[in-house]
Symmetry: C3
Subunit: 203 residues, 3 copies
C-alpha cells in the first residue's frame, strides 16, 4: 500500500511539474511578466482540480490546504525560466510527463466524484475536467480559444475513454485495479495518439 501511495505521489508531482512547465512556455510566448508567468504556470497545474472542487463544493479547494503544491510550482517556474533554452529540446519528455499526469488526474477526479455519490457519467466528466481544464483556464487567461476545443487532438477523448474503462472494470476487479488500468489507458492512449498523429474526425 505505502509503495502504491508513494508511486501515486511521484506521478502526481511529475504531472504538476509537466503542467506547470507547459504553462511557463505558453506564458513566455505571450511575453508575460514574471508574475504573469507564475500565475499561468499555477493555473495550468491546479486549474482543473480547482474547477472540479468548486463545482462539487469540496472547499477550501485542494491546493489551499497544502503549501506543498504552491512550493513545487514555484520551484518549477524558477528552474524552467533558468533552463528554458535547454528544456525546449525536451518536448517529447514533457509530453510523456503530461500524459502520465493526465491519466492520474483523471482517476483522481473520478474518485472524488464517487466520494460525493455522483453518477458514473458525471464522474467521467469530473475526471476529464480535472485532467483538461487547467489548460482551458490557461488559454482563457492568455486570450486564446482553448486548444482543447479545436485542435482535434485526442486529449479529452483519452480521459473519457479511461473513465469509461474504470466503470467497466471496477465491478469485477475492484476500485484499486480499475484505477491503475484507467490511468494506464489514458496515458498510453494519449502517447500513442500523439506519436501517430491521430485526430478527431472533422465535422
Amino acid at each position: 500500500m505505502t509503495s502504491i501511495a508513494t508511486f501515486t505521489s511521484v506521478i502526481e508531482t511529475l504531472g504538476i511539474i509537466a503542467f506547470a512547465m507547459s504553462g511557463v512556455f505558453a506564458a513566455l510566448a505571450k511575453k508575460l511578466d514574471m508574475f504573469g508567468v507564475l500565475v499561468i504556470a499555477f493555473v495550468t497545474s491546479v486549474g482543473g482540480g480547482t474547477v472540479r472542487d468548486m463545482l462539487i463544493g469540496a472547499t477550501p479547494v485542494a491546493w489551499l490546504k497544502d503549501t506543498h503544491t504552491l512550493s513545487i510550482i514555484l520551484i518549477t517556474v524558477v528552474i524552467t525560466l533558468l533552463l528554458r533554452k535547454r528544456i525546449g529540446n525536451f518536448q517529447r519528455t514533457l509530453m510523456v510527463f503530461d500524459a502520465l499526469g493526465l491519466g492520474l488526474f483523471t482517476v483522481i477526479g473520478i474518485q472524488k466524484g464517487i466520494a460525493y455519490g455522483l453518477s458514473p457519467g458525471v464522474c467521467v466528466a469530473l475526471g476529464t475536467i480535472t485532467g483538461c481544464f487547467g489548460g482551458v483556464v490557461r488559454d482563457i487567461l492568455l486570450n486564446h480559444i482553448p486548444a482543447l476545443f479545436h485542435v482535434k487532438e485526442l486529449y479529452a477523448t483519452t480521459c473519457i475513454a479511461g473513465g469509461t474503462v474504470y466503470f467497466l472494470t471496477t465491478g469485477a476487479l475492484g476500485p484499486e485495479a480499475a484505477q491503475v488500468i484507467a490511468a494506464s489507458v489514458v496515458s498510453s492512449f494519449r502517447i500513442i495518439s500523439y506519436l501517430r498523429k491521430w485526430h478527431l474526425p472533422s465535422l
Copy 2:
C-alpha cells in the same frame, strides 16, 4: 400541482434544448472540433445555473446531481449536428424556445435566492445570472466580448423586469402566481422586444 410540475419540467427541457442548440451554432461558427461543440453546448445550457450555484454555495451544482441534463444536451448536440442545415431555417422558433427558457430560468434563480434567505435585489441579480450567464461563459470560451454586454438588445433587462414584477406581486398573489406572472413577463417582453427590434438607449 402535478400538471404545473410537468408543465415546468417541459418548459425547462425546451429551454435547455434551445440554449444547447444556440451553443452548437456558435461553436460551429468558430470551427471547433466535436469535443469543443459539446462543451460549448453544455456550458451555454447550464452555465448560468452553475455560476449561480457556485456563488451561493449550492454544491454539488445542479447538473452534477442528475445525469438527465447531461443526456438531454448530448442528444440535442447530436441531432443538431445531423440536421444543422434544416434547423438553420427555424431561427424564429428557436428564439421562442430561448425566450421561454429565459423566463423559467430567471424564476428558478429567484426561487433559489429566496431559499437561501437573500434580499430581493440580490435574488433578481441571481435570476438574471441564471438566465443570461450561460451565454456569457460561452462567449468567454469562444474569445468574444460577451454579446450580453454590448449588443444593446433587451435580454438581461427582461430578466430584471420580470424579477421586479415577481417581488411586486408575490405579497398580494402568493409565490406561485408571482412565478407564473414573472416568467410570462420575461418571455413575452423578450419576444416582443426581439420582433420590434427594441434596443437600450446609447450611452
Copy 3:
C-alpha cells in the same frame, strides 16, 4: 474599536468606488452598453473577493449577503457616467483610492484565510487574489490578456510584500497592528512605485 471599524468601512467603500470607476472607464473604452458597463464595474469591484470566497467555500459569497455593496456600485456607475468627462481629469486621485482599496482588500483576504485555518503562504495568495483578481476578471470579460500579468507594474507585488510584512509582524505586535502596517505597506508601496514608474525586471 468603533472608530477603527468606521475607518475600515470608509476605506473599504472608497476602494469599492475606485475599483467600480475604473471598471466603468474600461467598459466605455470597449463601447459596451449600459448593462455591460454595470456588470464590468461590479465585477471589477467585487470580483477578487468573489473568487476568494468561491475558492475557500465562504458561500453565499460576500456581496450576496448585503445589498449595500450592490447599491454603492450602482450609484457609483450612474455618477461616473454622468460626470465622466470631469472625472477623467482625476486619474491621480483615483489611483490613490485604488491603492487604499488594494491595501485594505489584501488584509481582508489574509484575515479570511487565517479564519479558515490556512497556511501563511496561502493566506498571502488569498490576499493578493482579493486585491487583484477583480481586474483580472474584468480583463477576461473585455477580451484582454489581464494587465496584471504583463504590464510589469508593481501591483500584485505590493500585495505579496504587504502580506509578508503581516506575517513577520503579527507575532510580535498582534494581529491588529499587523493589519494596519500591512495595509499601509501595500498602499504606500503601490503609490510610490506608480509615481516613480518602478517596474518588474524583464525576463
